[in-house]
């Protein structure tokens, strides 16, 4: 147990709303080494008092009781390697939200202080890693995004290895003479940027290019990835610090678009037309010259049967091809059949310029049929603008097929591998059949590996909706679910070339960050700068594999026996492993099962006849807790029997905390965390989901304790729902009131 110094700020009305005379004995009873009151701990004299205490050698941890930990962070923070700090929130959670001078308010404040002291006593100084960190960035994919990523990482001072599976750099864009405008003038095509980029790459001695090469295996962790590459010659092994995956997109499989005429003579895709324009092979057999070309937009995109999303670039690509065709074949007439013409931003000016050309017809409508007829093809369009069906005659039909990300579903591949292993083991007939069925359903993932990560959770980045390997794609678009591995370009989201080029720079920046963070032993997003790693007391591990399976970033591997192998530089410090572990053997220096459990034990539970229920609220510190702060800013009141404990993520909640609380006579436990499901808001992706699952498993414990299931509640709450959170707490209190007091009180 560490020696705890308790410092209570009496400013911002705290002193006026509470009786502080009893705090001295409270601190003593809680085991604190010393207590001091101060009218403004955030003011220079207050800060000096804290600094002196920290430097005195008489305390191992500080409790700072005053405003929310989200305030005055600079003024009240200490080096976590030297002095752990626990902030007790008297201002927002007591003074601003409860009536001054009342007994319940006083009891709340005293409980919070006891809880803070109890936790602080368990906190230890954090240690940074002292590891050798490799600065090299590996870029997988030598298309536009990959080329930019390589130049960016090199420009930021890092050696780069650029791996491309083809025999030349440039990716899809290579075949194009020209591209749509990204800078002025916007009314015409611009030169293809690829040749210039390739020249720059070739000049850059910091960049090693490996063509006709694939990744055979990547092991390790950020700053220390061991990479094995295979190409034509001997296998190459190297160490890299971080990885950019820029594997691009492939055109949607047009063989599935026979309803749009694919397979018929004279029907090409965007990519096929690009190749023919490049090699000069554009002819239509039989009919001679091409005089009329019809483009069909959204061929396979915006279509529930095919790609539900919009492929973003096809409208601009078709307009580009219209100009290229008009140049290649003088007098050719082009029609573009579209549902919505999507040329955002300055591409609108390009669209207007194309539209103004003679011989270009834009037709809004739905394509009903593409069939041979007359001396060419006939495109049947239900024309929503003229209100009647029209037919467009064409010698050539171009299907603007969309983009499919070249990603691999690491989780699916892992399941497939596991299923195959089970088939080999052949444990029982039913198991084998189930495994065979699973393997068959996942057969399409066979051989799709790209990064070949030797991770327990699978060899590639996990994918979410539509196969994109992303996570928080609005606020943190480069984040994947593997630390130190970032995606750039069309593998991440469908986009035009200008954006893909910027993406290369952005993803390279993230890769450099991962290396810098590894060097400093710090976490990357979203707990950037956090220090201290998890420690595992492996003697007590039962190899249940929950931590290895539930870690949202795949930080924990397994040895053959199933014992967790923690890769600390992959860790994001969310604490989900700590919540998962039934043996409670995982802790961080400043966040542990024991630490929170000791807070729960510190709550004084009044005897039954006092009729003062106690409610434990475990709040996600990213969203629910700030929402509660906001409610306090608005001076909203809530039930005074609630005791709040912030958690790093709802997924870090260990069930033991809840059974501990209930068996101590606390009347109910409410967990408030982020939204889960497809549009999840959990910063650790599955934390909220996992908490829900675990609470379902908790029901057994509740039955064993003869407690009603309503005593535990999980609530999803958005960061902005400050107006709702007091009601969430009050409503839970009401439910508990209806249930009556916890019968375990006093046992």
């Amino acid at each position: 147990m560490g020696r705890v110094g308790v410092f209570v700020c009496t400013g911002c009305g705290i002193g006026a709303s509470l009786r502080t005379d009893g705090f001295e004995s409270l601190a003593k009873e809680s085991g604190a080494a010393r207590l001091a009151l101060h009218p403004a701990l955030c003011a220079p004299e207050g800060q000096e008092l804290l600094r002196q205490a920290a430097a005195s050698g008489a305390v191992d941890a500080l409790v700072i009781a005053g405003c929310s930990a989200r305030h005055k962070r600079l003024e009240l923070s200490f080096d976590p390697e030297k002095m752990p700090v626990e902030r007790v929130v008297l201002r927002e959670q007591v003074t601003w939200s409860h009536p001054a001078g009342e007994e319940d308010t006083q009891m709340l404040a005293e409980d919070l202080l006891r809880m803070g002291v109890a936790r602080a006593a368990t906190m230890k100084p954090a240690e940074r890693a002292q590891e050798t960190i490799e600065p090299t960035v590996l870029v997988v994919g030598g298309g536009l995004a990959g080329l930019n990523a390589a130049l960016a990482a090199s420009g930021l001072g890092h050696p780069v290895v650029l791996v491309e599976k083809a025999t030349r750099l440039g990716g899809y864009l290579t075949v194009l003479k020209q591209v749509v405008p990204d800078v002025p003038p916007y009314d015409r095509l611009h030169a293809n940027p690829i040749p210039e980029l390739v020249r720059e790459i070739e000049k850059d001695t910091n960049i090693r290019v490996l063509l006709a090469t694939r990744v055979k295996e990547i092991a390790g962790q950020p700053g220390q990835f061991a990479v094995e590459l295979e190409g034509n010659g001997d296998p190459i092994t190297l160490k890299v610090g971080a990885i950019v995956q820029a594997t691009g997109a492939r055109p949607y499989d047009a063989s599935r678009l026979s309803h749009l005429g694919y397979g018929q003579k004279g029907v090409l895709t965007t990519a096929e037309l690009d190749r023919r324009l490049a090699d000069g092979s554009l002819t239509v057999s039989g009919s001679g010259a091409i005089k009329r070309v019809a483009f069909i937009q959204c061929a396979g995109s915006r279509d529930a049967q095919h790609l539900p999303y919009c492929s973003t670039d096809c409208c601009a690509a078709s307009l580009r091809q219209v100009l290229q065709l008009r140049e290649a074949i003088p007098g050719v007439e082009c029609s573009v059949v579209f549902r919505d013409l999507r040329t955002p931003g300055q591409l609108e000016r390009f669209y207007q310029a194309v539209q103004d050309r003679s011989g270009v017809l834009l037709v809004r409508g739905e394509v009903e049929s593409v069939a041979a007829g007359g001396d060419g093809l006939r495109v049947g369009v239900s024309d929503s603008l003229l209100g009647e069906a029209v037919e467009i005659e064409a010698d050539l039909v171009v299907l603007a097929t969309g983009m499919v990300p070249v990603s691999a579903d690491g989780e699916a591949i892992r399941q497939l591998r596991d299923a195959k292993k089970r088939i080999e083991k052949n444990e029982s007939e039913t198991q084998r059949k189930a495994a065979e069925a699973l393997a068959a359903s996942l057969a399409a993932h066979e051989g799709t590996e790209i990064l070949n990560l030797s991770y327990r959770q699978g060899p590639d980045l996990p994918v979410l909706a539509y196969g994109f390997p992303d996570s928080h794609y609005i606020c943190f678009p480069y984040e994947t679910r593997r630390t130190g591995v970032y995606t750039a370009g069309c593998v991440r989201a469908p986009m035009g070339w200008g954006q893909a080029a910027e993406d290369g720079w952005g993803a390279a920046m993230k890769a450099v960050q991962a290396i810098v963070a590894a060097r400093q032993g710090e976490a990357v997003h979203p707990r950037s700068g956090d220090v201290g790693f998890a420690s595992f007391f492996l003697q007590r591990c039962t190899q249940c594999k929950r931590c290895t399976e539930e870690c949202p970033v795949g930080a924990i591997d397994e040895d053959p026996k199933g014992t967790p192998q923690y890769n600390k530089l992959r860790c994001r410090r969310c604490g989900i492993c700590l919540g998962a572990c039934p043996e409670r053997i995982i802790s961080y220096p400043d966040y542990s099962v024991d630490g929170i459990a000791s807070m729960i034990k510190a709550i004084e539970v009044p005897e039954e006849d006092e009729e003062k229920p106690r409610i434990l609220a475990l709040l996600c510190e990213n969203d629910a807790l700030p929402a509660l702060d906001d409610a306090a800013m608005k001076r909203t009141r809530w039930n005074p029997w609630v005791r709040v404990i912030p958690v790093r993520c709802l997924g870090s909640v260990n069930i033991i905390w809840i059974s501990e609380a209930l068996s101590r006579g606390i009347d109910g436990v409410v967990l408030v965390g982020c939204k889960r499901g497809a549009d999840y808001q959990c910063h650790f992706i599955q934390g909220s989901e996992l908490a829900n699952k675990r609470m379902e498993n908790l029901q057994e414990t509740l039955t064993r304790l003869s407690l009603e299931s309503e005593r535990v509640r999980v609530v999803e709450l958005g960061r902005d729902e400050w107006d709702r959170i007091p009601a969430v707490l009050d409503d839970f209190a009401k439910t508990l009131d209806d249930l009556g007091l916890n019968p375990l009180k006093g046992f």
Binding site: C42, G155, D340, F476, K675
Partner: protein, 412 residues
């Protein structure tokens, strides 16, 4: 880690915050300059983001924590760029920090606002509410500190000074000049909504119940002027029918010739606010093209399945009948005829104009004022200063721009 000069990021909206954070977390010294009292820019005023319909404060919570924790970022709020001069190795930058009427020792306790005798229209809520002259700029403002609208204060009023327990109010504060040697500049000055007043034919600035999309965000927000209830400004009643007018000023040679990129999605999102809050209210969107690129396509299906009606056609005029009903004239392109719609509330999906025009330095720009990157001059742009784009694109693009600026700052 680099030992180069700091990069200076102008503007602390989502693009500027992202550029600053990403560079600093990669080891770069950064100075983030913001004119307002708090960071967050336009996104802080949004109710939700598309397509997840999640609150902006969620990502900003993470970002402000990153700002606070990172020792390599210096955030200067209430600060303007006065001059920037190109040097051989970057820029000589002169900044002017407004007088610190409220010092950083402010604890955000709120005693000052309680006694403030002056109320002013709240700029955060587009003037739809009144707030004290000294106040927290908004609920989640960061830095978490009160700010004073000094120009609105009556002469000789000292009430806030006396009320402040932290003695953080200083009416004798002086403005401060800050000179910096910057390794590169990132312009992330964002955008201004196309002014409603320029669209009088659509009732903009003329009819009370014709509002802009940015105002609707505030009306939908629980911390907005109506506590999150979407009400008609004229009579404070919930509208029974709402029509969205797309391309209000965009894709129009008389106004903005370009497409503002986000208005379709912003409106689709807002139709969902309405369908959720007022299920009885009919919602119609008049559009030229429904532009929902990428995965944002899901917004279109969400709106369609929520019962939102779509009419292809550009609205020509909005007028008001005697009973307060709004009447819209448009060419229904699908029906091929001129038609009229009625509504209680009309939302003009106004576009975005780049806001970098007032900067005291030469920025290469395109014909519509969007800034262009100039690597040789170590001048970069991010976010809507560069092109009309959504939040995800701003973050994406700002990260890349920050990398370019950082690389430029490293080269000598």
């Amino acid at each position: 880690m680099t030992t180069s000069k700091p990069i200076v990021v102008l503007g602390a909206g989502i693009a500027g915050i992202s550029a600053a954070l990403e560079a600093a977390e990669a080891g770069q010294e950064v100075v983030l300059v913001e004119r307002d009292s708090a960071v967050g820019g336009r996104v802080a005023k949004l109710h939700r983001y598309f397509p997840k319909l999640c609150p902006p404060s969620c990502g900003l919570e993470i970002d402000t924590r990153r700002l606070e924790k990172n020792p390599r970022i210096r955030v200067l709020t209430r600060t303007d760029l006065v001059a920037a001069e190109r040097t051989d190795t970057g820029w000589k930058v002169t900044l002017r920090e407004e007088p610190a009427w409220v010092k950083p020792s402010c604890t955000a306790c709120g005693e000052c606002a309680k006694v403030c005798p002056t109320s002013v229209p709240d700029p955060f809520n587009f003037g739809l509410a009144k707030v004290p002259a000294i106040r927290i700029p908004h609920l989640d403002a960061w830095p978490r500190r009160y700010a004073m609208d000094r120009a609105a204060c009556p002469a000789d009023c000292h009430q806030c000074v006396e009320a402040c327990p932290a003695k953080a109010v200083d009416l004798s504060a002086k403005e401060r000049r800050i000179d910096l040697d910057a390794g590169a500049l990132v312009i992330a000055t964002g955008w201004v909504p196309y002014p409603l007043e320029k669209l009088p034919e659509l009732g903009g600035g003329v009819l009370a119940d014709v509002v802009s999309n940015v105002v609707l965000e505030r009306l939908a927000s629980p911390s907005g002027p109506t506590g999150g209830r979407i009400l008609r400004p004229s009579d404070g009643r919930p509208p029974r029918s709402v029509v969205f007018v797309q391309c209000a000023g965009s894709r129009d040679v008389n106004h903005l010739p370009y497409c503002s990129s986000v208005c379709c999605l912003a409106s689709l999102k807002q139709t969902l606010y309405l369908r959720e809050a007022l299920p009885e209210t009919s919602v119609t969107v008049c559009y030229i093209d429904r532009r929902a690129p990428g995965r944002n396509e899901s917004m279109l299906s969400k709106a369609e399945s929520a019962g939102v009606k779509f009419v292809k056609g550009k609205v020509g005029s909005v007028t008001c009948a005697g009973d307060g009903t709004l009447r819209l004239k448009l060419e229904d392109q699908e029906a091929g005829r001129l038609t009229e719609l009625e509504a209680d509330l009309v939302v003009l999906a106004t576009g975005m104009r780049p806001a970098s025009g007032e900067l005291p330095l030469h920025v290469p720009r395109d014909e519509d004022g969007f800034a262009l990157e100039d690597r040789a001059s170590r001048l970069f742009a991010a976010g809507v200063a560069k092109r009309p784009e959504d939040v995800a694109s701003c973050v994406r693009d700002a990260t890349g721009a920050a990398a370019k600026a950082m690389a430029a700052a490293r080269s000598h």
